[in-house]
Symmetry: C2
Subunit: 400 residues, 2 copies
Amino acid sequence: MIRIMERHYFDWAATAIPDCTSTLQKSEAAHCFANPSSIHEEGRAARKVLEEARSRCAKALAVKTEEVFFTSGGTESNAIVLFSQFCKPNRSVFLYSAVEHPSIRENAATNNNATPLERFGISCAAIGVEKDGRVSEATLEKALEKNPGARMAAIMAVNNETGAVNEIKKLSAVLRKRQKQPVHLHCDIVQAAGKIPLDLDDWGIDSASLSAHKIGGSRGIGILWLKKTITPLLRGTQEKGIRPGTENTQGAIELAQALEKYAAPLHNNGSLPSFYSEAEARMKTLIAGLRNTGFFIPIPEDRCEEDSRFSPWILQAAFRNKAGKIIPGEVMARALDEKGFAISTGSACSSRETKRPVLEAMGMDKETSRGGIRISQGWSTTMEEINFLVDTITMLLNSL
Amino acid sequence: MIRIMERHYFDWAATAIPDCTSTLQKSEAAHCFANPSSIHEEGRAARKVLEEARSRCAKALAVKTEEVFFTSGGTESNAIVLFSQFCKPNRSVFLYSAVEHPSIRENAATNNNATPLERFGISCAAIGVEKDGRVSEATLEKALEKNPGARMAAIMAVNNETGAVNEIKKLSAVLRKRQKQPVHLHCDIVQAAGKIPLDLDDWGIDSASLSAHKIGGSRGIGILWLKKTITPLLRGTQEKGIRPGTENTQGAIELAQALEKYAAPLHNNGSLPSFYSEAEARMKTLIAGLRNTGFFIPIPEDRCEEDSRFSPWILQAAFRNKAGKIIPGEVMARALDEKGFAISTGSACSSRETKRPVLEAMGMDKETSRGGIRISQGWSTTMEEINFLVDTITMLLNSL
């Protein structure tokens, strides 16, 4: 049986459709195949290409070249910062927002004594979020008051399940004002780079993590941006000792291309690039269309069509059936999948779990939490696809 | 000025010339771009491709599919095993051969109290090597006698600087016989996979690490083979909790291709593949040719033309000038580079350091150690290139 069906990809937050990987010239890749740590001509050529890629990434992110370190991805970038806590002479408290990505949250979560950080005497405490899923000045103040020993904190820029955007600059100001001793503030920008305007230098943070495959690059490459140096747990010589292992030169070139294409245009303050305003227009159409069904519950419930608290690339939503009961997220996702739409419930990293800790941290009741699906769009998503998605959901809601 | 010069690559131990990365069909890559943890059709397709790649890798290595875990490379595979020590309720002694790759050695080295393992109460002790750079039953016995609390040991299959091949099966038998309590034996096979016959199951080891880019695959992907499970320091859901981070599907396919091409043929006991016997013939010609110069010092000095103690893919050697003085390795490497040969001194991972801990662990004097260069060949190296290399070195020795 031949199955012909147009597919529509709405899981860009899990991974982007590759973009820059296909544009790499084979000759370019062949030119830089050597180990960049080798001192012969081939090694030096690879080093040159790697350093050019670093400098291009830095320029696209509007930071200094020497602050950019290549890693194998967002998870490793987060882990390097997290476990650098181990190496501090004065082990203290690590604060993390309750809605952080699993690569932070699961290594620090306080409801389990056996978490890696806690087992080694580092206390961990969550920073609460408001109902909209964002860390507020008040929730941060409260966490700092309870944990005066905090020396490191992690607050993500854009939440991967809800699209909630944290006002990092405001939060870092609160942190700096409140704590007399230095606090290392780490920011996961995996869902922010190339998606929303960012200004790492201006935000007052000390480090940031991003992943190439979320912005059209390949797997196995990411960036750890370090404003101030840290001592990583793992020793090695590459990347100035920050990340050992042979450098992924080709991945770095592809990442530079992706950042130039999508992150750099978001720096020109004032005039946002058309791909951003188009994403906003599509999100507005999507939310308005879904609201029209009469069975739509945006998550959080007060998220509106144009809402600066949220990234225009991610929508979390639940739906009621005609009987008024909330449709489980996995039922909705499966039904949409059968109609040709690739949609997730929460994070791909925990797609096989039924718990929704991010939504529960927002004070959401369990039933609505389990009804949540995540619709995430990308640069090549079209308005036609959005309309088709709305029509399909409308049709499904009349049948479920 | 246009510079025309044929280049000859003799640094395959640092990284291989890409082989399998160019054979990947773009359609194949496009088919599996989704996040393998996503549950929609695209995600399931990517999962299928990833699991097929895992099964192909397992078959090529003659191990069980469920024992193969994808990581970002050899360094990370080693780190996962190393830092799983942190998670043991009974923290004890970690033994490592004195010539291990920096990704093991530098995290455990005992001459520095601040190494990551030692700072957390895990004692580390080196297993000495014989003059030929190999761990012997005697050196292992001695280390075990001194460290009865040993619960984990790392002994590499092929040394990356000298090509010394450890008889892992014999050594694991000594370990199993000597220690009553279970000892986790880890084996770095980065320079062995696709290079020499290996039989992980028969060797009596518990885990092994390999890196794709050393056998013609791409950067950012490797394997951790686990015969018995471990508790990694970093938590996550992917790779059954062994290695968090979005899976590198494309890298996994390329790695499967590389292992099928080079590792699988080395399993057919009795009849070794032609690429192996050809490498042996080239190594024999190389050593004989260099010996003819009269200024050649193989490292170790008793390494001969056909020597089963060493991998035919790697030669470490020093040279004397006409005055009888040993030529510094970096001088020799630079002179050869200028003549078109890409050759390293030691490991690319420490190419910017002047110390040669691997050679010094073999009891080599400092002067000879600093004279060492590493000539490593690959599957596409030709006998003509070997002869040209011998001629060039002969000529250089008459001028230096």
